[in-house]
């Protein structure tokens, strides 16, 4: 076994885009709702995807329940990413809000939502981060909240910038916020990324394009919501999340939620 050597990328965006287009044509009409794990244009996936199909299992008791989180886990202030420093972070202030539901449209209540993101210049606070864009001393880019009784979450943050990565020459990720979600059952666990409307980098990005169905891709794009914008203060984006996977029998909450 040899140590991995880091080779600089030699392929251009045109090379990658040709691969992406071919895979898109190959999968036309298949309506695959999830990313292809075997998606060579995302170079890091080549040695990191299972080659066998997953085995079907009937979920056992533990898998039909989810871990519990609550007020002892998350301070409500953690939903505001703009108050970590002594001054305002630089960038376009935004509110991101929406509902988390299961596949039957039922709210995922009192459940943990975690986010992390780059700052407005496209830089993460991370020791392996190489991008020579400025750090913002007033922005860490990490937030958490607990969904309310209707499954709603709400974060106050700043719009992240796009950032370069080493997949190929001149590779740029579309601006995104990473989301981590727990459902009503462990089978529904999800980590994903939320994008912003009409990003010109969508067509060029292997991670976004690893989902070959356009409707499924659209489900990762927030919509601008003027009603979520705050006058003289911030812009609003709305993004709903649907967590599917078997769960235990639904029981209505004790007091009315009609």
């Amino acid at each position: 076994m040899t140590a991995p050597t880091k080779k600089p990328p030699v392929e251009t965006q045109a090379d990658l885009s040709a691969e992406i287009e071919k895979l898109e044509a190959d999968s036309a009409g298949q309506n695959v709702r999830q990313p292809l794990l075997d998606y060579p244009p995302y170079r890091s996936s080549i040695l990191r995807h299972p080659t066998k199909d997953p085995r079907h299992a009937d979920p056992e008791t533990i898998e039909l329940w989810a871990p519990c989180f609550g007020n002892s886990d998350v301070d409500p202030l953690e939903a505001d990413l703009t108050i970590a420093g002594s001054n305002e972070p630089i960038g376009e202030r935004i509110t991101v809000s929406g509902r988390v539901t299961d596949g039957e449209g039922r709210p995922v209540r009192n459940q943990l939502v975690e986010i992390w993101q780059a700052n407005s210049a496209g830089r993460y606070i991370h020791k392996r981060e190489q991008h020579p864009a400025p750090l913002d001393p007033n922005f860490t880019g990490v937030g958490r909240c607990i969904t309310d009784s209707e499954g709603r979450y709400r974060f106050q943050t700043i719009k992240p910038g796009p950032y370069p990565w080493g997949n190929h020459i001149n590779a740029w990720r579309p601006a995104h916020i990473h989301f981590s979600l727990f459902g009503r059952a462990f089978t529904q666990r999800l980590i994903t990324q939320m994008y912003f409307p009409s990003d010109p980098l969508f067509a060029l990005d292997p991670i976004y394009q690893s989902i070959t169905d356009q409707k499924a891709r659209d489900a990762l794009v927030a919509r601008y919501d003027h009603d979520l914008s705050t006058p003289e203060y911030s812009m609003g984006y709305h993004w709903d999340i649907v967590l599917t996977g078997p769960s235990r029998t639904w029981t209505e909450p004790e007091e009315g939620d009609l």
Partner: protein
């Protein structure tokens, strides 16, 4: 009957979760070294046999008596409450460690296991699997284990070591771990 809503697709956890998702005590479901505690540990490998230094694992389990924990507090552990859930990122050698207890059977005669999810840079969506206990008598009747050929079954059963259990994960290759999808 309404049509089920379309699921939100997953995306890779990427390379930069390390300052966001791990937290102090995340992998210690019980304090290390406390009575009844075990170490559950192992390495995560890619298809070339190289360790993966940027993976994140989460376990979810019954308590030692087989009950499903429904207590909050995983993010600020008090040292007394067993929440049943933990998170561990791999180190530069691809190694992860949990401190926990052996899960009990949730029903009489059922084979206990740790439910496991795997995330990593380069992995475009989560993977689910199970970690079964070595030489547990109920394994012989477990519907999933008996449905698998011997080599795949072996990928789902931990091995005992001096401090508890060892469980390696191979995303690809000869010893590729069997991953699960739920009906």
């Amino acid at each position: 009957m309404s049509t089920p809503d379309r699921p939100t697709p997953g995306q890779t956890i990427g390379p930069f979760f390390g300052y966001a998702l791990p937290y102090e005590g995340d992998a210690d479901l019980v304090p290390p070294g406390s009575p009844g505690s075990i170490r559950l540990h192992g390495k995560v490998y890619d298809g070339a046999g190289n360790p993966i230094p940027d993976a994140l694992l989460e376990i979810w389990q019954t308590d030692a008596a087989g009950n499903v924990p429904q207590a909050e507090g995983s993010l600020h552990r008090d040292g007394w409450t067993f929440t049943g859930w933990g998170r561990a990122d791999t180190d530069l050698n691809g190694h992860y460690t949990f401190s926990t207890v052996l899960p009990g059977a949730s029903e009489d005669g059922a084979a206990p296991f740790f439910a496991l999810t795997v995330f990593a840079r380069g992995l475009l969506d989560k993977l689910h699997t199970r970690i079964y206990l070595p030489e547990h008598p109920a394994n012989a009747g477990d519907p999933l284990l008996v449905s698998l050929p011997e080599d795949e079954r072996a990928t789902l059963v931990a091995t005992a070591d001096a401090t508890g259990l060892r469980f390696d994960i191979h995303l690809q290759g000869d010893r590729e771990t069997t991953f699960l999808t739920y009906r």
